[in-house]
Amino acid sequence: MDQAFASVTLQEGTAAQVREIAQADILVGIPSFNNAATIGHVVKAVIAGLAKYFPDRRAVLVNSDGGSTDGTTDVVAQASVDLGPMLITDRQSLLHRIITPYQGIPGKGSAFRTVFELARRLDVKACAVVDADLRSITPEWIDLLIQPILNEGFDYVAPYYLRHKYDGTITNSIVYPLTRALYGLQIRQPIGGDFGFSGKLAVHYVDKHVWESDVARFGIDIWMTTEAVSTGARVCQSFLGAKIHNPKDPAADLSAMLVQVMGAVFTSMEEHQRVWPRLHGSNPVPLFGFQYEVGVEPVNVNVDRMIASFRQGLADLRQIWEMMLAPETLQALIDTERLPPHGFHIPDEVWAKTVYDCASAFHRRVLNREHLIKAMTPLYLGRTASFVVETQGLTSREAEECTERLGRVFERLKPYLLDRWGAVEEGPP
């Protein structure tokens, strides 16, 4: 094992490869765990994208794997593209391929940490990370994630996808409006999963001591975005078209997923509490890429089950919710009990206050933090059911307006958050 850098340990073979490559301009990272079915397509898209758009740049493809047993790494090693039919003829620089296991807590964040470390050691100018389960990735994604870094002076590129109105509901109902209200930037997919960032930002990431927390798991996406925004990095978005990826079992580990994502969001709020209270309103973020309409896969939703979960929460978790929520917020949620399923509705204002109450309760440690976030699960399902009922019959674009409206409500109620949050330590941001 190589111990040159105390922070991240690389396998000897990987370290030797890094020494051999010495320096690169671009690095594209793909975290994986048992993605043999889909990763081949992703690797081919990356190879084609680098060949087509960055033929004269020294590029490295990194697969940071969590110990797959389905032959994922073999697929990565063997994936190749015939560039001729793609009219790519001027590929000059050899694409290096590093396939390495990552160390640390099993999760996407730990995989990214190895990618950041390799970016540092290779002194790259621009990086991109893409998920291994993508089915809609094209070579253009690499251009759109890397080009703003290399040629436009941006530090961080967030993805902008076209998604079904019920795809990414944690993003739509919590993370997007909250991030927008807190940090004043309208980054539509702050936890999109596919990002571009500068080598400088990669070094900043790897130097942070967060790799034993939820950031090492699903919390990595929002943490990267929040770190970029709060440290004053120049942020833009790139239009990537539809995001189609292999579905995960949606209900199997929802509360664990919430713990990881919301834990990272709330912890970042504490980390940057000298930054966000000073910001008011929000600004659009530059958007690159040619925008077009695209059909998205339909999403089946079981509203009755979500409402049942919310109502069971009202009945059984009342004592815990009383500790987390302001009395008037809880009362507003209790008032929904008399609504029929087809008219079930949690108003935007009530939902924004619910999220703000939970963030403040997390900050004040009114109860065990993992319990607190897990107890949010029925609340989140209730709000999602409300959104589904409200947007039934609307197109995804029309439903998007509801999400934008929610973002504005979060902004308007930010003073409520400040009031609930309590004293903020004074000092330089």
Binding site: Y166, D167, G168, D249, P250, M257, N300, I320, L367, N368
Partner: protein, 234 residues
């Protein structure tokens, strides 16, 4: 007659007087220990209470769920006051034992030695019980949230069972520590706990066949009538 008076009456009186004179310093010492120890215990108890209040231990106790646990355990949710009282009564008991020891009476000395030897067991039992109460609250809350998130209808019952399970274990351990009917406690707990588990297994398997089938199907993903839901959250 004079000799009789001297031997039968005055000599015992003199002996008693001598003993009283000999015992007097012990009595004075005992009173002195009590006179100093009692106010000292009171002062230290108050001091501990005030110091803990200054250190905002109340808020900390609220955060970690200690107050809720105390309320549930039938105690006033004021840990600073409680700690102060524990210090006061602990010191008062020690002072009393020291005062009785100063009297230098054999039976009392014997009793004091036994009592002092018992104190570590008593303290251990108290710590085990307190730990059990906190752990039971934690486990009950975790069970409740997990059960609700899993759509398990009798979630509060499951949480209650989890709470009492942990409390019973703690109680059995505490009683064993106190040496109260050790074997009966261990065997009784084993029988009671085993009985509860067997009853639950039978109730789940026989009385709630539908529920158990649904649970197993959900675990192994073979539910045919489950309405499809492919909502993606991230």
């Amino acid at each position: 007659m004079k000799e009789f008076l001297g031997t039968a009456l005055l000599e015992p009186l003199a002996t008693v007087g001598t003993r009283i004179v000999q015992f007097l310093p012990n009595l004075v010492a005992a009173f002195f220990i009590l006179a100093v120890g009692w106010p000292l215990a009171w002062g230290l108890g108050r001091g501990v209470e005030r110091t803990l209040r200054l250190l905002s231990v109340d808020r900390l106790a609220d955060r970690i769920g200690l107050n809720a646990a105390l309320t549930r355990g039938g105690l006033k949710p004021d840990p600073c006051h409680l700690a102060g009282r524990v210090v006061y009564w602990g010191l008062l008991v020690l002072t009393t034992i020291a005062a009785l020891g100063a009297l230098d009476l054999a039976p009392i000395n014997q009793l004091a030695i036994h009592f002092l030897g018992y104190i570590p067991h008593l303290l251990t039992a108290v710590v085990i019980l307190m730990g059990g109460i906190f752990l039971s609250n934690f486990v009950a809350r975790a069970t409740l949230i997990t059960a609700v998130n899993g759509g398990f209808r009798p979630a509060t019952t499951a949480a209650g069972l989890a709470r009492w399970g942990v409390l019973l274990v703690a109680l059995a351990m505490a009683l064993e520590q106190l040496g109260i009917a050790q074997h009966i406690v261990v065997v009784g707990f084993g029988i009671a706990f085993g009985g509860v588990v067997l009853s639950l297994a039978l109730a789940f398997g026989l009385g709630a066949t539908g529920l158990s089938r649904e649970f197993l199907e959900r675990q192994f993903g073979r539910s045919a009538d489950r309405k499809k839901d492919d909502l993606t959250h991230l």
